[in-house]
């Protein structure tokens, strides 16, 4: 199997899943739109939507953008209140979220560079564009490794708290378990893909050790008689498909809190700033 066929399989699965994700998000947004919108007496959807868009644009194209960014960092990312409630829970959440945001950003940069800037504009010679599609580039390797490591440590804390120490106030239902299973699947498949890649012939041995977790792990299994080169593409396809399969559940599961929670935290933070002058 070639890299092209592996990529084709990925897109065949990924695209319908993303369409389903968007449909789910649409239904979720539509459910929110059934609610009352501040300053809007009209029941009509179009009026409510216009009000929301107006509020959004007035925030983005004004000095309030600074407040929005500040509240994203302070409230949504660092989550001051969680820190005040419990350091360990905060650390757990911070590691997971930071790792996720870092990996998400790297994936975005990689996709933008590969599918747009290089594919259409042939800018592969620009170092700060080409590096995002090269997993052996020192910056990309270290950042990817850091993101995955942060997420993995956060996930281990999360599992220990929810299933082993299990504080009395926790209620664990199918949605909580799906969140654990989903993220664990992404992490395991990601680490496996990285280990397989580091054992393939495509890797630059000079920089491979920059994958500071994946590289030592790859050394442990390098003696296994596996077709590392063929597996490399397929492991990335599996990792990509599993990630897409988890993303598609966002609007239907507890994963939605990552989007809704961030918006609520930013809005509340901005409201508090206004209230306190």
């Amino acid at each position: 199997m070639t890299e092209q066929s592996a990529e084709l399989v990925f897109w065949i699965v990924h695209l319908p899943l993303m369409i389903l994700f968007l449909v789910g998000m649409w239904f979720t947004f539509a459910r929110w739109m059934n609610g009352q919108v501040p300053g809007q007496q009209e029941e009509r959807w179009s009026q409510k939507l216009a009000t929301i868009v107006r509020i959004l644009l007035r925030t983005i194209f004004s000095a309030r953008l600074v407040s929005l960014i500040k509240n994203f960092i302070v409230e949504a990312w660092f989550n001051r209140r969680l820190y005040r409630n419990s350091f360990w829970r905060w650390l757990n959440h911070f590691l997971l979220l930071s790792g996720l945001m870092l990996l998400f950003t790297l994936s975005g940069l990689s996709a933008l560079s590969d599918k747009v800037l290089i594919h259409f504009f042939h800018l592969e010679y620009v170092p700060w564009i080409g590096m995002w599609v090269n997993p052996d580039h020192p910056v990309t390797a270290i950042l990817n490794e850091t993101g995955a490591t942060l997420m993995t440590i956060g996930m281990i804390f999360f599992i220990i708290r929810r299933y082993i120490t299990h504080p009395e106030q926790l209620r664990t239902g199918p949605m909580d378990t799906w969140m654990v299973v989903g993220i664990t699947l992404i992490l395991l498949s990601g680490w496996t893909a990285e280990i397989v890649r580091l054992n393939s012939s495509e890797v630059h041995q000079a920089t491979a050790h920059l994958s500071f977790v994946g590289y030592p792990l790859s050394r442990l299994v390098q003696g296994l008689p596996l077709p590392w080169d063929d597996l490399t593409h397929w492991m990335y396809v599996i990792h990509g498909i599993l990630t897409s399969a988890v993303i598609v559940t966002i609007p239907f599961s507890k994963f939605m809190h990552a989007i809704a929670g961030a918006i609520v935290l930013i809005v509340r933070g901005m409201e508090e700033e206004v209230a306190h002058g």
């Binding site: 789910g24 059934n34 609610g35 609520v264």
Partner: protein, 412 residues
């Protein structure tokens, strides 16, 4: 029936529906919930479960999966049963808002619980006691069911009835007494003390008498805001007629609705300032209008939920207490925004007296731990609930409203 079984999202705001999805099920709220900690067999009280049930009921009709599979996973009958339990949990909440203080996603829980109650009222799934309260408020214009013209009955025991009590039609400030202080004899001391203080400070005030109607708070928190609109408009007009520049009330619930709800409900600014008695007291003490005798006692303060967490007033009552010479002021274990509820809020006393008493018991024990001689609050309902708990628990502590404490220590 089929339509009625459908929980509607229209009572919620856009943000509240988003908040339902923002809940991370971390359970922090459960640790801090005063009612759940006294009724652990009813999981439906917990903020987490209230959100979960509402989301589930709405998802059944409004989400993609709900539209596809909703009726298979949740039948009409099971949805009704679920909502019945949800109603019990939602109306057993004192609306103290402590969960909002600790929620890592900053969910405005108190407002959310009120919206949930509104949807339950639309469904007809709410405690019958609320109907009695509605009947009293909408027909007698007060919660006790007494003749509303008797609102100034508390003034009969005053040595001399001041001009501000029922004899003036114009003044700088309106004193909005509130239903409990007007009609429940154990709370008469609050308005009596308040007018004594205002007379001493030489303030120009008046009371509305029979023109004062219930502020609408009990209806609003019961999920019956629609029924309160006419009452609210009447009250605003009655105050506007006096041309007063300020409205003062010693009831935190009246204060909260006047200050924060009325402008939204009538759709315009009130045109006058709204003050709580503690803010007025702090102001006149700072202006040197009151002189005190010493009170060489230990005093602790209970933050009423509607004054503290809901309205953000923490400093004024403490300034007032500490202005009394000789007072040794101590805080209870839980104070300021973490203050434990007295158990008297959220109309819970109407639907579950035992639960209300259990919450009050926990709070009075915290007061006893401080070894204070006086437990001061700034709410007639908190004082009444906590005094009852002290009596039942045989705890020797004087539970008084802050205006009573000030009036008692005035140097005459």
């Amino acid at each position: 029936m089929a339509e009625k079984s459908r929980l509607s999202p229209r009572r919620f705001t856009f943000m509240q529906l988003m908040e339902l999805d923002a809940c991370t099920r971390c359970g922090e709220c459960i640790t801090w919930c005063p009612t759940y900690n006294e009724k652990t067999d009813l999981d439906a009280i917990t903020p987490l479960q209230k959100i979960e049930t509402t989301r589930r009921a709405l998802d059944r009709h409004y989400s993609l999966l709900g539209k596809l599979f909703g009726r298979r996973t949740l039948t009409n009958e099971s949805e009704q049963e679920m909502l019945q339990v949800h109603s019990e949990g939602t109306y057993d909440c004192t609306l103290c808002g402590r969960c909002a203080v600790v929620c890592p996603v900053h969910i405005d829980t108190r407002a959310l619980w009120i919206s949930m109650r509104e949807t339950l009222v639309d469904q007809g799934i709410y405690p019958q006691a609320m109907d009695h309260m509605r009947e009293m408020v909408t027909t007698h214009y007060n919660i006790s069911g007494d003749a509303n013209d008797d609102r100034l009955i508390w003034s009969q025991n005053l040595p001399e009835i001041p001009a501000g009590v029922g004899k003036k039609t114009k003044a700088e400030m309106v004193y909005f007494v509130g239903c409990v202080a007007s009609f429940y004899p154990q709370s008469y001391k609050i308005p009596q003390s308040m007018v004594t203080i205002m007379e001493q400070a030489d303030l120009d005030y008046l009371t509305l008498g029979g023109e004062e109607w219930c502020c609408g708070f009990p209806l609003i928190i019961a999920g019956m805001e629609d029924e309160a609109v006419e009452i609210i408009r009447h009250n605003v007009e009655a105050v506007r007629k006096t041309e007063a520049k300020r409205l003062m009330t010693s009831c935190p619930s009246c204060y909260h609705v006047w200050k924060h709800e009325y402008p939204h409900i009538i759709g315009e600014p009130l045109g006058f300032e709204v003050l709580h008695s503690t803010e007025l007291l702090a102001e006149i003490i700072a202006a040197g209008k009151l002189a005190f005798r010493s009170l060489n006692e230990t005093v602790t303060y209970h933050d009423p939920c509607d004054l503290g967490r809901t309205s953000g007033i923490y400093a004024a009552p403490r300034q007032v207490i500490q202005a009394i010479p000789g007072v040794n002021f101590v805080e209870m274990k839980d104070h300021h925004e973490y203050s434990l509820c007295c158990g008297g809020g959220g109309d819970v006393e109407m639907s579950d007296k035992e639960l209300s008493a259990a919450v009050a018991k926990r709070r009075i024990q915290q007061a006893a731990e401080t070894e204070a001689k006086y437990l001061v609050s700034a709410c007639q309902q908190c004082v009444r609930t906590l005094a009852g708990a002290a009596r039942r628990e045989k705890i020797r502590i004087r539970t008084v409203d802050i205006v009573e404490l000030v009036a008692r220590t005035l140097a005459t």
